[in-house]
């Protein structure tokens, strides 16, 4: 899309922050989330899970469970489709184990009963005989020569010879000559880093209500970021035609990437088919932690060379990501995002996707990027401090700009990194004095953002109001953004528009609400669907006036003749046209569908002040500022909310959150008491600055905003801790015990 197609300014609705359309439902308890659906004759399902990290399933005896009063169905792997290949095969293996249980919490059977209590009792009556096998949960250990083999057929052709079969994919990219670059540097720093796995931690556990008949027709209600992917995957796993399964997305209580796949949904469908009754399954929190996608844990080596003036001469990174028992750890995103903020002549990045006895990783906000950024931005910070250079000046000196060849290959279009750095430098936070014992850190971060398949329909009502059907679950206020964009195009009040998340029977395929794509892609489709309707409105007015269609244009909610030659007619408002639409040619709708390719990449810069208690090792975040390029903020309050939420999750990742496995390969902290996400008293207010450098690929300039915000916090906080405590932590989270150890080692 050319820039001159863009609406440069003069917005009437876009850029305001009206009340969200689902606000009332959400403050009164009326909104229906995944677990809030009930059906006549409904059964409750529960899942039998492996207590072992790695075990051959010798025998499953369901007879005692089946004999329990109230139990209506028991399913095992035999109740699902055989022989699925590729991603569907991995998902099925994850949803219900076949020959082996591959991690603590791996599903091996499921029951449906007349109450949840009976279902949970029945779970205990399912007898599973296991042959326990050696296991591995650490990424470096899983790559080592004598590591237990999970599956020797998962590695693809990308993996060079000589690697352990647990290395299943390999990535190598870059340009220039890094050795020559390091030779030019005045200082080269090389360091190793580790990060532990974290969970998305959405407060709403996975929940669904499924109904499937022997005729192969089904209904599924579930909390999901994408009901079309759920439809496609579930249909494949239970062996029915995709179109015969209608999926409705409930209100979603957080996802952050973790609800982009299925876990219990196919199981509920299989149980329902067997029992011939609707089946509801709601995960417990412990099941969420043990069996749904956490992030990858990582092990990384970074080497960067710098001249005395701050010029980076070469950069190199090795990123090893453990993604659980199946291929798919986002190591290529780690590799591609790591050095994206920098314009580099010599850069080289390598990634390893490693399997281990942990749950299948799922996307988490900018998957792969925060860890890589932590490692790279820590080394940059160390270089700045050893060369006595200002960290923002160094980043500005090396910053990627329009036309820079990105570390991952393409040339950047218009981007806003420099603007975020300049805003950071000018922000009062950056120059504010620090208290004794405090340190300040900064970091940049990058995320691609995404387009994806998108389909939107819009229909006008006789009274001049508008209803819009979009296919991307609203995870943080996107219905408000869609209504604002449609209001802008149609020229009718925001309040006159209702946006609904349509079910799979109503629209064509829509990609998941992920990749920060919703306001960009569904927004673009909403704008184009509105333009489609506007074209039809103009046509009706032209017919009424008896003038050619192209002599009519749309402005401020009215059709107008385009000049004196076109004729002298009063502007015809939308409501006047729709009032008679039944007699003037029928209903007026707008539609748009595409896979938009113009998602604009986005950068952010964060500033954080931290204070470390040398006695307890506890780190307090005392001040935090997020500066990020939104392209164009459609609903600024919810853009700020995305920035703040990303920062808060990053703070948790940096300081507290981690999956802790015992020697036995079992997850030791599967409740919120032990897996500690930030609570209100842990955080300060989170200041935000919205930078707007328009994305040339969107009519209003929108870039995604959801993900970039979690990329910089890990390094920014590590850099602040290093400044405050005089120790650099290269292993996340920087929990009190790790900080105390580092302080002790320093002496």
């Amino acid at each position: 899309m050319a820039l001159d197609d863009q609406k440069p300014s003069g917005f009437k609705f876009v850029g305001t922050s009206p009340d969200r359309p689902d606000g009332l439902d959400k403050v009164t308890g009326r909104a229906r989330f995944g677990a809030d659906a009930y059906a006549p004759g409904m059964l409750h399902g529960a899942v039998v899970r492996s207590p072992h990290a790695h075990a051959r399933i010798v025998r499953i005896d369901t007879s005692k469970a089946e004999a329990l009063e109230g139990v209506k169905a028991v399913v095992t792997r035999a109740d699902f489709v055989d022989g699925l290949q590729g991603e569907f095969g991995f998902v099925l293996e994850n949803v219900m184990a076949g020959e082996k249980a591959l991690y603590d919490g791996h599903a091996v059977a499921a029951v449906a009963a007349s109450s949840q209590l009976i279902a949970r009792d029945a779970v205990k009556l399912v007898e599973v005989e296991y042959e326990v096998l050696p296991h591995v949960t650490d990424v470096d250990a899983a790559m080592a020569e004598n590591a237990p083999v999970l599956n020797d057929s998962y590695a693809d052709a990308s993996v060079p010879a000589g690697h352990h079969p647990n290395v299943v994919r390999y990535h190598d990219s870059g340009h220039g000559d890094v050795d020559a670059g390091f030779a030019e540097a005045d200082l080269v720093i090389e360091d190793s880093f580790k990060t532990e796995a974290t969970h998305q931690g959405y407060i709403e556990p996975h929940a669904c209500l499924a109904s499937l008949g022997g005729d192969g027709k089904g209904e599924l209600w579930c909390t999901t970021q994408g009901h079309w992917i759920a439809q496609k995957t579930c249909a494949a796993l239970v062996g029915i035609d995709t179109s015969q399964l209608r999926v409705t997305a409930s209100e979603i209580g957080g996802g952050f990437g973790g609800k982009t796949t299925v876990f219990i949904e196919p199981v509920a469908l299989a149980l329902s088919r067997k029992a011939n009754r609707p089946v509801k399954i709601v995960m417990t929190r412990s099941e969420v932690f043990r069996a749904t996608g956490p992030t990858s844990s990582t092990s990384m080596d970074i080497k960067i060379g710098m001249k005395k003036d701050g010029t980076i001469t070469a950069a190199q990174g090795i990123f090893r990501l453990q993604g659980g028992a199946f291929p798919g750890a986002p190591m290529e995103f780690s590799a591609m995002c790591a050095f994206a903020p920098y314009s580099l002549t010599n850069v080289h990045q390598v990634g390893y996707d490693v399997i281990s006895n942990r749950p299948k990783q799922a996307a988490y906000r900018a998957p792969g990027a925060p860890m890589a950024s932590f490692a790279v931005e820590s080394v940059i910070d160390e270089l700045c401090s050893q060369l006595d250079l200002d960290p923002i000046d160094v980043r500005l000196k090396n910053a990627s700009r329009e036309g820079t060849k990105a570390s991952y290959g393409p040339k950047f279009e218009r981007i806003g990194l420099v603007e975020t750095l300049e805003a950071a430098k000018a922000h009062p936070h950056y120059s504010a004095p620090l208290e004794p014992g405090q340190g300040r850190g900064i970091s940049c971060g990058f995320w691609f953002n995404h387009g994806g398949e998108t389909s939107v329909s819009l229909a006008l009502s006789e009274d001049g109001t508008c209803q819009i059907s979009v296919g991307t679950p609203d995870i943080g206020g996107s219905r408000a953004s869609m209504a604002l964009m449609a209001a802008e195009e149609l020229g009718i009040p925001y309040e006159n528009i209702r946006v609904t998340i349509a079910d799979t029977a109503t629209l064509g395929y829509n990609d998941v609400s992920h990749g920060s794509r919703v306001t960009y892609a569904s927004g673009l489709a909403t704008i184009k669907a509105a333009k489609d309707a506007v074209g039809k409105l103009c046509k009706r007015a032209a017919a009424k006036w008896g003038i050619p269609e192209d002599a009519v244009y749309w402005e401020d909610g009215c059709a107008k003749p385009s000049g004196a030659n076109a004729g002298n007619f009063d502007p015809m408002p939308l409501a006047k046209i729709t009032k008679s639409m039944g007699r003037s040619g029928g209903p007026i709708s707008g539609h748009f569908e595409a896979t938009p390719e113009g998602a604009g990449v986005s950068f952010g810069t964060h500033i954080v002040d931290a204070e470390v208690d040398p006695e307890t090792g506890k780190t307090a975040v005392v001040r935090y500022t997020v500066i990020q390029d939104a392209g164009k903020a459609i609903h600024p309050s919810y853009v700020e909310g995305q920035f703040q939420g990303g920062a808060a999750q990053g703070i948790g990742w940096a300081l507290n959150e981690e999956y802790i496995y015992g020697e036995d390969g079992r997850l030791q902290n599967s409740i919120f008491l032990d897996y500690r996400v930030p609570v209100a008293s842990d955080l300060p207010m989170i200041d935000t600055v919205i930078v707007e450098v328009p994305n040339p690929g969107h009519p209003y300039g929108v870039r995604g905003v959801g993900e970039t915000g979690i990329v910089p916090p890990l390094a920014a906080i590590a850099n602040a801790v290093s400044a405050a405590a005089g120790v650099r932590l290269r292993h996340l989270p920087m929990s009190p015990p790790r900080i105390l150890r580092a302080l002790k080692d320093k002496g």
Partner: protein, 159 residues
């Protein structure tokens, strides 16, 4: 297992139900009384999504047994608005965009209302500590804290 008969009051309505001795108050509210406003985020008392009050005291309903409701007065998020009229906290949460997904909102509203009834003039720190038992994964709490503080200020002015 034999069921227990319970007579209680929920949002000023008299209600009766039968429940298994193992069922929590949260289970009863949601599955037997159709009050799905209280949410189960953890079932272990760590997230606050199930917050309700029992005889005016803020509790996690996942940690209370249904049978314990006998003779008590239970208040849930469904009872916060009076008919069409929203509570000031509800208005402010919408106005401040203090929710993204909204799953934590019912629990946070119940908890915040209970705070303001005890302490009409809380400091930011007091609000943060009072709400420390209510997890929100979406917002980073900033807008929630501001909404509560501003509601408190408005309510003080109005009284």
């Amino acid at each position: 297992m034999k069921k227990i008969h319970v007579t209680t009051t929920v949002n000023n309505d008299n209600v009766e139900f039968l429940c298994d001795p193992r069922e929590t108050l949260l289970d009863v509210l949601r599955d037997r009384l159709n009050l799905t406003g209280a949410k189960e985020g953890c079932g272990t008392g760590d997230c606050g999504a199930c917050s309700v009050t029992v005889d005016g005291r803020l509790v996690c309903s996942c940690l209370v047994l249904g049978a314990e409701a006998e003779g008590k007065k239970i208040a849930t998020v469904e009872g916060i608005a009076k008919g069409e009229e929203l509570h000031p906290l509800q208005h402010k949460f919408i106005e401040y965009a203090a929710l993204q997904c909204g799953i934590c909102t019912p629990g946070i509203l119940v908890a915040a209302k209970s705070l303001l009834e005890k302490n009409p003039d809380p400091t930011e720190t007091e609000v943060r500590y009072w709400l420390a038992g209510n997890l929100c994964r979406c917002t980073g709490y900033d807008k929630i804290i501001r909404a509560v503080m501003d509601t408190a200020a408005d309510m003080r002015e109005a009284s």
